[in-house]
Symmetry: C2
């Protein structure tokens, strides 16, 4: 299936900061470009008859295999020169016969989205312009294409703010998880350590968790309880907001 620029709105793009959580680390889904081997956020364009939310969902379905991802727009990036491509790329793109060169030389206003996904359910899949698609630990990402670093940082900042009055985790953790795992997630996003006991008390006070039987498997030391989110209460908390902050 070839890219046909006539199917898309000119000047408008979208970029997604897709976050996952694995090995106690915050992961970000990135693409490596075919030509320059630079890293980029997954992104795409908006079809003539779809909303930007639909477009973002479509793009992420392609990149991850997962549909209906938790996804929110958070900022529009529109500096006039933000999408000016590297002259080197310009040359290399000419190798491309898809007519993409003309398209990519347009100025783009990009709508930034952040997405939270269950790491284990994602199958990273490169797009037409990419060489590969894979998870990177947030801490190990250094330079990204265009203004994508800025977009990524602003996405994380937005999530940190959301955390103050909304629960998080349902979209980032597997169905069943332990309290220490959930805590680690919060600590990772917030970038600081939390008190184990106070964390538990606070989270439980939101009443969005259901406690299950003890876990038995592998891990050394005392086995922690398993929890799962109570989805109704979780969604209600998402809408109503939480009282205290972190």
């Amino acid at each position: 299936m070839k890219f046909n620029q006539n199917n898309f709105l000119k000047h408008i793009s979208l970029d997604c900061a897709v976050f996952g959580f694995h090995d106690n680390q915050l992961k970000v889904l990135l693409l490596q470009t075919k030509h320059t081997r630079e890293w980029a956020l997954p992104g795409g364009f908006v079809k003539l008859e779809e909303s930007v939310e639909k477009a973002a969902n479509r793009v992420l379905k392609e990149r991850t295999g997962v549909d209906k991802i938790f996804l929110h727009q958070f900022h529009v990036f529109s500096e006039p020169k933000r999408s000016e491509i590297n002259p080197i790329v310009n040359d290399m793109k000419e190798l491309d016969e898809s007519g993409g060169l003309e398209w990519f030389n347009n100025r783009f206003i990009s709508i930034g989205f952040y997405a939270l996904v269950d790491f284990s359910k994602v199958t990273p899949t490169p797009d037409q312009n990419s060489f590969k698609c894979e998870w990177k630990s947030f801490g190990e990402i250094d330079s990204l294409i265009l203004d994508h670093s800025q977009i990524l940082n602003k996405a994380l900042e937005t999530i940190r703010l959301q955390l103050k009055y909304q629960p998080i985790g349902y979209n980032l953790l597997p169905d069943k998880f332990t309290m220490p795992e959930l805590q680690k997630l919060y600590e990772t996003i917030l970038g600081r350590e939390l008190d184990r006991r106070n964390f538990q008390r606070k989270i439980l006070s939101y009443k969005i968790l259901d406690k299950l039987e003890k876990r038995k498997t592998g891990g050394a030391y005392k086995s922690p309880y398993l929890y799962k989110f109570n989805i109704e209460k979780y969604n209600k908390a998402l809408e109503d907001g939480l009282s205290g902050g972190w």
Copy 2:
């Protein structure tokens, strides 16, 4: 000066919810369209070489006479049919010889901004497609053109959330103001009453106010103190965020 559609990015517009505060009421700046006499939010388009923020600032300078207004983007509105114009307008627009009909029949993705301004400094000024421009009390606004009601409501919702961790008022009140006035502003935005004494204690705890001499003028009863914002501390609070919420 005629509108030349070649100077603007196609498919992209912006709409601004401009809030002011007057007579203890929250005011919104609206335009009344020439043809159908419907009400609309001030809006505009993005020039080929400007950011959306610059564009919004430019548009609001034209509508208010005020430059460098406090202005933030808050959401992108992109439902495919959101900008489909009323067929009646379509006919009437043909009266217009500016070539605007073709332009307005495009699909537009609109970037929503909210703005906070000092009511007394604004000179409402209609644009090319408007009959008049004036302040309306938020409570008295019923129907707006296209999805502008939705945009306006989402703007207010956003401000309410901001209020939880950012100070507000510097952009909405005159230089000098009294504590009851500031409180009324908070109450108006939040849509509920606050305790006078607790409000004062909390606001003062932020240390963003400087207390001045007593006011003497007109108002009956005991004269309240005048305050002004300490702009350095205010800006710092804007960046760092406040601790407690409302």
